[in-house]
């Protein structure tokens, strides 16, 4: 969600010129680690803070406070020439765990499947593991297939999907480019299948959607508090939609 954080920071320069907001990327864990080490005021995260991180923060004198600032859909993407246009959560799980190895098995061409994922430090990776590969079952210990490629950036995923007809990838809705085909996702084989969009996420029908968070300290500095309030206000939420995420104000 670094794109969104940058969009907020840039717009806030005109809204409050005296406050300087600087943004660093690197994944949810990086941001939370920085909050724990007191090097940042606010940490954006696309996953919930882990209990051990809360414990670490407390040990370091930081009491992290969670605010939901936007919603996001995870789009499952393939090459434009791939004939497959819809998959169930079970099929996606089987593809990523290595049970399905050929596109033929899900109604596509006779081609091997190349699995592309974000690195393990990305909140998107952890979310996808828990909610898709393991279908939201905490007792399920399924792993990504060992040959899943872990790419360090969304750009890496975008370029792989753009040229490789064998590839399947996933990333936040905001990172989808015109050079990818987005797969409609359904919960059961009989459908219905939905494409990710602001509408389907807001209506709660697209199955792979999540909240995005900002973590702050219990007593944030006044500029940080004002910035957070601005993000939750109309100006901040308008940018959420512009960046390809789903704003809160429409949420049910």
């Amino acid at each position: 969600m670094v794109n969104l954080a940058l969009a907020w920071a840039e717009a806030y320069q005109t809204a409050a010129p005296t406050v300087e907001v600087s943004v660093t990327g690197g994944g949810s864990g990086t941001g939370i680690a920085a909050l724990i080490n007191k090097t940042v005021d606010l940490a954006n995260a696309s996953r919930r803070i882990k209990p051990e991180e809360v414990a670490q923060a407390r040990a370091n004198g930081v009491d992290p406070v969670e605010t939901v600032v936007a919603r996001d859909a995870i789009a499952v993407v393939v090459h434009l020439a791939n004939p497959v246009d819809h998959l169930t959560i079970d099929q996606i799980s089987d593809i990523y765990s290595g049970k399905i190895d050929n596109w033929r098995e899900v109604g596509g061409d006779d081609r091997p499947i190349v699995r592309v994922s974000r690195e393990t430090n990305s909140g998107t990776h952890v979310y996808f593991l828990e909610q898709v590969v393991r279908r939201g079952d905490p007792a399920d210990k399924t792993l990504f297939a060992a040959d899943t490629m872990l790419l360090p950036s969304s750009e890496g995923i975008a370029s792989e999907i753009a040229y490789n007809q064998n590839a399947i990838g996933y990333d936040g809705l905001g990172y989808v480019t015109p050079e990818m085909k987005v797969i409609a996702v359904g919960k059961t084989a009989g459908g219905p299948f939905y494409l990710p969009s602001v509408d389907t996420v807001t209506r709660g029908v697209y199955p792979i959607a999540r909240d995005l968070y900002i973590y702050s300290t219990a007593r944030p500095t006044p500029p940080a508090r004002d910035y957070l309030a601005w993000i939750l206000g109309p100006a901040g939420q308008a940018l959420v939609a512009d960046s390809g995420f789903v704003p809160l104000s429409n949420a049910p």
């Binding site: 690197g26 393990t120 430090n121 060992a146 872990l150 040229y163 490789n164 064998n166």
Partner: protein, 296 residues
Amino acid sequence: MTPAWRERLVTVTIRVAGVSAIAFLVVIFFFLIQQGVPALREVPLRDLFGSRWYPIEALFGLVPLVLGSLWVTLAATLIAVPLGVATAVYIAEVAPRSVREVVKPFIEVMAGLPSVMLGFLGIAILAPDLYRRLHLTTGLTAFTGALLLGWIAIPTIVSVAEDALDAVPRAYRDGALALGATRWQTIWRVTLPAARGGVLTAVMLGIGRAFGETMAVMMVTGNAAVIPRGLGAFFQPVRTMTATIAAEMGEVASGSVHYHVLFLIGILLFAISLGVNLVGASVVFRARTRAERILS
């Protein structure tokens, strides 16, 4: 300031510079040991020898990472050593002065290219091209990484090897040619063996450069922690030790088991580069004593 004082100042400065290099190395080494060795207590040895690396589920098998690094480095060496040594021979022995004056600076510019830029070119151009041309399942493979690493290692090999060839006394070549040897025989039987120590140093430095390279490899090798099996694995993704540290160190909670294991990988990297350099040094040393025996 009297000349004697100036002399002393210079001596002391140089000594401090020299000793500080060793001191830094020792400090780094101790830091690595201190942060990495706890991993040996926290993770059973059998798990470290496991075949699966998936740190968020506490699977810390290092085998795929070590083999991944060695695999990519081996491929890069096969590409870079012949090309690098041949280029050095060409520049030092064959090329006319005018060509030499153009080629050498170009090679040095090649050495100055930031590896992240090469990685970017690798993702944008090389990977899709190899995918189409060689009909691979993906363009992000060990081979793609090896090509970039070869490119990165070549300037190091060329410039060190060329210096070594240049230092071979003119009389050796003249002697060989006067005995009726052809130009090729002179290069292959006289000049190259005479410069063997320097050329081997060049090769070792090149291998070290390839082994330790991070950014370009992380961008183009696909980072899938699989154990390479057979020659076909050249055209499949691998995950190297350096890429693993770079990708995961930013995220990891300091003091955790994962953090300690990443430092353990650092120790392994350090040990393997040290091993490569020691082997290189001993070969050079042996070659030199043999040459001295023959000459005496």
